[in-house]
């Protein structure tokens, strides 16, 4: 009678999407905030930042990641929300495990984020972003973005399990949203104080951003895409494992 885990995750992703569609405040925040931030960077700060190119060209990859961070944050809140109601017990008595339950949230998060990153890209195009990428590079960029969104959505699920309340979960995700700043997302790393270089150059977001930038602007990407994919796969694997352990301990 119980169904396969992927089918359960799919049914639960549908649930998650219906719920987020009906939470306009969260949806608007996830869609509007990244666009607003991108506009602020381009028009307020961009004039003072010298990146050697048009600032909008420089900032779009970072804005897309920032956007994904906001979108994933709501995953942490939904997971924390579920954990304090009887709904998890009901799913468990249907013999659905923690990973499929969380995978439902992650799948919904990925879809929401694809929507919002597309919106950011559309606005970017409207304000002068001119990507040079061919179809293959676009696909590669989309694939990398997908891997990144999946990784941080699982990370958000972990934060949602760690938090005792949805409010606390929302707070935890600020850490995630802060990560794009000390990277090459908004300003070149060389302009940061020396003690930050080590972190900024080697933190996982920098290779993701560098790869996106290279792919979209048809520049040589070097090994950055592989480093980025390795980071995403590693974060996903660690987060899924942690999520499984946390889910079991929370539902004992």
């Amino acid at each position: 009678m119980t169904t396969a885990a992927p089918a359960s995750a799919l049914a639960l992703a549908g649930r998650s999407l219906r719920i987020s569609r009906r939470s306009p405040d969260a949806l608007i925040a996830a869609l509007m905030l990244p666009v607003m931030l991108m506009l602020i960077f381009v028009y307020f700060f961009g004039g003072a930042i010298d990146t050697g190119t048009q600032y909008v060209t420089y900032v779009v990859p970072g804005a897309m990641l920032l956007c994904a961070g906001f979108g994933a944050a709501s995953t942490a809140v939904s997971v924390a929300d579920d954990m304090r109601t009887g709904v998890i017990d009901r799913f468990r008595t249907l013999d659905i495990g923690g990973i499929p339950i969380l995978a439902g949230h992650v799948a919904a998060s990925v879809l929401r984020n694809l929507l919002s990153t597309t919106l950011v890209l559309a606005v970017a195009l409207a304000i002068g972003f001119r990507p040079q990428a061919g179809p293959a590079a676009y696909l590669a960029a989309a694939g990398l973005l997908l891997a990144y969104i999946t990784a941080i959505s699982w990370l958000a699920a972990v934060l949602g399990l760690l938090a005792k309340t949805p409010e606390a979960a929302g707070g935890f995700t600020f850490l995630m949203m802060f990560l794009p700043y000390p990277s090459s997302a908004f300003v070149p790393i060389e302009t940061m104080p020396g003690w930050l270089h080590g972190f900024a150059e080697h933190q996982p977001l920098t290779p993701v951003i560098e790869s996106l930038r290279a792919l979209l602007l048809a520049q040589p990407a070097g090994s950055a895409p592989w480093t980025a994919l390795t980071w995403c796969a590693g974060i996903t694997a660690v987060a899924m494992t942690l999520a499984g352990v946390l889910f079991r301990s929370r539902t004992r």
Binding site: A7, R18, T85, G86, R92, T93, L94, I96
Partner: protein, 329 residues
């Protein structure tokens, strides 16, 4: 449950066919020696239960007696520290998946998403139970109709009344046509009308051959619904039997005495099974015969000054409960 009720809950199609083989014979629930400790607190201290298939057991007890922990163990959500339980013929720990195919749980707090509609919730449950989309839709429509929610099917549960949410919650737990149903305080917080509806539903479930274990703090509920009642106090079964048997255990009747003075009340209070200090009234057990009542009055009030008036009542499950658990003393 409502005027829409067709009287048929399960067994119509498909999934619920595994009822034939029950290794434990005819027991829907069979638990022996369940214990559970959380930190330093021993929540369950050796629980034995035997619930025949197709009957209703009420687990009666005050808050903190261990009712919810018992239900969680039987519903496979928590493993006991010691003891074993078989539900629908299968071991709750080593055959967890088999048990889960045959049970449903409706917890104390409605497990219904505010932002899904009634129809969406039930269709989702159908999909999670492995029904194909079309079958899930049909099952959802059937249950919406049965629970009087067809008109509200397209509205989000946020707009539902407490009774409607509870109905949706129960409908969701019936999608899989379970053999054994756990209802944890199903009527807590419901208005009288919704409570009546729920009672009716439990009777229908029983009539369909479903085994029901419900927990309640309400003695009236146990009295009306249950074939057998287990009184749970401090993690132990304090008494178990049919409502009639339990009532018989504390003598059949109660002699209520209204006393003339506070002093007389205080003097007799230690003997009472029922206390109403505001009215200076207390109750003592009696078999209800004239001889016993006369003897009791002579014994309790030899000077014939303490008792103002008296009444003889049939013992209620309340009396049983208070006598057995020592609460309210």
């Amino acid at each position: 449950m409502t005027t829409h009720a067709s009287g048929h809950l399960s067994g119509a199609t498909g999934t619920g066919t595994a009822t034939a083989v029950h290794p434990t014979g005819t027991l829907g629930i069979h638990a022996t020696g369940l214990t559970k400790t959380y930190g330093d607190v021993r929540v369950l201290d050796g629980i034995d239960l035997a619930v025949p298939s197709g009957s209703v057991l009420a687990l009666l007890g005050p808050n903190g007696a261990g009712k919810t922990t018992t239900v969680r163990i039987l519903a496979t959500l928590t493993a006991p520290d010691a003891g074993t339980a078989r539900v629908a013929g299968h071991h709750t720990v080593t055959e967890r998946a088999l048990v889960r195919e045959r049970i449903s749980l409706t917890g104390q707090f409605a497990a219904v998403d505010d932002l899904q509609t009634g129809a969406e919730t039930l269709r989702m449950m159908g999909r999670l139970c492995g029904l194909a989309p079309r079958a899930a839709r049909a099952r959802a429509d059937e249950l919406l109709d049965r629970f009087g929610l067809t008109d509200a099917a397209a509205r989000t549960a946020k707009t539902y009344s407490g009774g409607m949410r509870r109905r949706l919650d129960l409908a969701a737990s019936l999608v899989s046509r379970p053999e054994v149903i756990f209802l944890d305080e199903p009527t807590t917080g419901l208005d009288p009308r919704s409570r009546q509806d729920l009672w009716e539903l439990v009777r229908e479930l029983r009539a369909d051959g479903t085994t029901v274990l419900l927990t309640t703090q309400y003695l009236e509920e146990a009295d009306r619904l249950a074939d057998r009642v287990a009184v749970l106090a401090d993690g132990r079964i304090a008494a178990e039997g049919t409502p009639a048997e339990l009532k018989a255990r504390v003598a059949g009747h109660r002699l209520d005495l209204t006393l003339t003075t506070r002093a007389a009340y205080e003097a007799l209070a230690p003997r009472a099974v029922h206390l109403a200090p505001d009215d200076l009234t207390l109750g003592v057990t009696t078999d209800g015969s004239a001889a016993h009542v006369r003897a009791l009055l002579d014994e309790l009030d030899p000077d014939r000054t303490a008792v103002d008036r008296f009444a003889v009542r049939t013992a209620t499950l309340d009396d049983v409960f208070l006598t057995l658990t020592g609460a309210d003393r």
